[in-house]
């Protein structure tokens, strides 16, 4: 009994319970809609794990949302709700696209340059929010939502401008190949590369059929960096103090407003990094006209939430989310159930994560009952 209570108190347990509940609710919805939940989930899992290229695609899908989740989680640790990751992502994508298209240096210069452009643009977008909050006390949620829309229309403006619009398309000109961050983009299609890979089927499949790229490694590095920043560095100490109790931080001499701006700069840069890596790492390497938000930032909110705002947790939550998004397509393809079922499942998981505050309370109750029985 005591052991059970201890396990229930761990945050990861709550998350797992939430995920199980999410699946359970999805099963009910599927059954009500007349589909066999077993075969639907079977399709989902085989859509994630059955082929190397699926796994590769899940990771590719997980990359941007892991980074935007990191952006949200980091800001949250400092007491800010970064609902603006969406807009920061969009301006990051625009900046990366423009720089990658206009400049054409060797990859060693070009790649960092393009990525930096995305990060700077995202940081700027986040920084505006931070500055408005620090200077005038305007709530970050308000400014972020406005800036999301400004980014949205700004992106469309750029896509449709004479300088960047590719004729007969709904998109901008793609970035130059020198900025690609896929694994060995030239080698893999060359004769030598084909010959080298011909013996290994899974490698060929992953390399040639998917945009396997460095993005996820960078996302993992970013998560570790953010964790170090928050929990091991002096700056992180300040940031967390501001986030947890800005009154005490202020009183102890920690500059609160400055740290708010810094936080939003970093959070914006992370969202911008997500966008830049998506431009350099995956087809079509360019931005298109947006008719609605692509949810790269908003999904980051859900991922960060599932991860309990833990930077390292974002990696796993990002993979889970990427898996559901990508594998969910096979539910539709294989058994004809609407892919919305996946959205219901994701929604339910997030909902249950929000509810899991109940779990530790249950644990306390269990402990109490255990003690009574012991008497």
């Amino acid at each position: 009994m005591e052991k059970t209570a201890k396990i229930l108190k761990k945050p990861i347990t709550s998350t797992i319970i939430a995920i199980v509940c999410g699946f359970a609710v999805a099963a009910i919805v599927l059954a009500v809609a007349g589909y066999n939940p077993g075969s639907a989930f079977g399709a989902l899992f085989s859509g994630i794990f059955s082929r190397p290229k699926y796994i590769s695609n899940v990771i590719i899908k997980a990359t941007p949302i892991t980074l935007t989740a990191l952006s949200v989680a980091f800001a949250y640790k400092v007491g800010l709700f970064n609902i603006g990751a969406e807009g920061q992502y969009i301006v990051g994508a625009v900046a990366a696209n423009i720089v990658g298209y206009l400049c054409n240096f060797p990859p060693v210069i070009e790649i960092p340059l393009v990525i930096l452009a995305g990060m700077v643009a995202g940081a700027l977008w986040g920084g505006i929010v931070g500055l408005l909050k620090a200077k005038f006390g305007i709530h970050e949620v308000l400014t972020s939502i406005m800036l999301n829309w400004i980014a949205f229309y700004f992106s469309n403006l750029v896509v449709n401008s004479a300088a960047f619009h590719q004729p007969n398309s709904t998109a901008a000109y793609p970035v130059n190949a020198s900025s690609y961050t896929m694994l060995l983009p030239n080698w893999k299609t060359s004769d030598a590369g084909m010959a080298a890979m011909s013996g290994t089927k899974w490698l060929r499949e992953v390399m040639l059929k998917t945009d396997v790229n460095f993005g996820f490694l960078i996302a993992i590095a970013a998560a570790v960096f953010i964790w170090m920043l928050l929990y091991r560095s002096r700056k992180g100490y300040e940031l967390r103090a501001v986030g947890l109790n800005h009154d005490a931080a202020e009183f102890a001499g920690i500059p609160v407003n400055k740290n708010i701006v810094i936080t939003m700069l970093i959070a914006g840069a992370l969202a911008g990094l997500a966008a830049a890596l998506a431009i350099t790492g995956t087809n079509p390497h360019r931005i298109s006209t947006l008719s609605a938000f692509e949810n790269n930032g908003f999904n980051g909110l859900s991922v960060a939430f599932i991860a309990g705002s833990s930077p390292i947790g974002c990696i796993f939550a990002g993979l889970l989310f990427g898996g559901l998004l990508y594998g969910g397509q096979s539910i539709q393809a294989n058994i004809g159930a609407p892919s919305e079922i996946i959205n219901i499942m994701i929604g339910t998981i997030v909902f249950f994560v929000a509810l899991t505050a109940v779990v530790p309370k249950l644990a306390v109750r269990l402990e109490k009952r255990g003690m009574r029985n012991a008497k």
Binding site: R232, S233, R234, K235, G236, Y237, E238, R240, A241, L244, N245, D247, A248, A249, E250, F251, A252, G253, I254, P255, V364, E367, K368, M371
Partner: protein
Amino acid sequence: MEVSNEYAVQMHGITKTFGTFCALNQVDLDVKRGTIHSLLGENGAGKSTLMNVLYGLYQADEGEIYLNGEKVDITNPNVAIEHGIGMVHQHFMLVDNFTVTQNIILGNETTSHMGVLDMKKARENVKKLVEKYGLEVDPDAKIEDISVGMQQRVEILKALYRGADLLILDEPTAVLTPQEIEDLIGIMHNLIADGKTIIIITHKLKEIKESSDTCTIIRRGQYVDTVKVADVDEEELASKMVGRQVQLVVEKTPAKPGETIFEVDHLNVKDDRGLPAVNDLSLKVHAGEIVGIAGIDGNGQEELIEAITNLSKTESGTIKIRGTEIQNTSPRNVVNHKIATIHEDRQKRGLVLDFTVAENTVLEKYRTAPYSKGGMLNRAEIGKFANQLIKDYDVRPEDCANHPARGLSGGNQQKIIIGREVANEPDLLIAMQPTRGLDVGAIEYVHKTLIRERDQGCAILLISLELDEVMSVADTIDVIYKGQIVDSFKQGEVDEKTIGLLMAGGKQNGKDS
């Protein structure tokens, strides 16, 4: 004890647990009708919990409650009110922009036919009560315009209006001036004379001696003793409450003031609403001296501290530490000039509750070696420092360094703050309400620490709403009224009454203040 109708209240074997925490364990309380019975205990001893059980806010897990010899089952406050129990909470529950009468009848309105409010009759009823018990208060004044002491009377009237025969007063004197406390005790005696019964929750020994007939002491949820107040002295009560010998008198040698360390000169500060709060205030603190500022809450103490610590801007005047002006700079500049502050609101300003204890111990000096180096924290050094502090200041539990500060009791949280501030080796130590909400044992400890620092040459500015504290700890007593230091005395040269009068805006022996 036998159940009898001589007793207004008998609570027998009351047990109440919250989760795994046992707040009350087999506690007994027998209150004779027509007496004032005090309930004494340290913070967290379970006094309020016991009264909340009586008032129906909590249900006891075990135990029985008898009112006038009849067993009752108090399932919620409405049942308690029906049985003639009234409770005045520590934090008043009044509607600020309603009049006194409106507040008193709220929830129990006097109506004429068809449910129309009969304010005239209500007002008369209230007036009758006011006259009967000497609870003088203007029935037409708005709550926001009357003093805290008056607001308390309204709360008492509210309970009486509902027909209360048993009044529970939760820490009623915490917010009152010495004169108001005297008045309150007078009112309590009037009520007793009329056959009412009063239970007063408190940890102030002096007031128990002055007001009560009987006293029940509880400690950590356990019943300790019930004594006749006339038979015991304050020391005895304190020892029973804390469970060990306690020194109530602050022991210290005369101060040996050195050079002037800290000087405030003709300072003017406005409050949040833009009204003058600190009004041409001047004061000096010397090395090796404790200057105490006595005053009623809201006379500019808070604004003075905010100005000194640079949380707010000053209008004019100077604040100097060792000759350097620090007004209108930044909190960090204040810390850098070796001013350490123990803020009255330890949970808001003093600690980051969700930080570990260790992290909290370096809230100001995390930037300096050896606690951080090259931008990274040195967690081993921070841990070492924290453990030393925990040992030096006897913080409990001893292994709390890596646990959130939130889990510590108020007294232990305060020890962390004091330890941290003292470890900054300040030239000036500002202590604002350093013992607020602490029990006798912890108060003793805080006072000893302040005096020890004084003896080592630190200049100390003590601001407290507890007049007793200022009188017993400070070497120089400044009285603040309406943002001004109206008078200054050496310790021992003045009595409580004079200070009390000055605090309330009175003049001393015709002397112009």
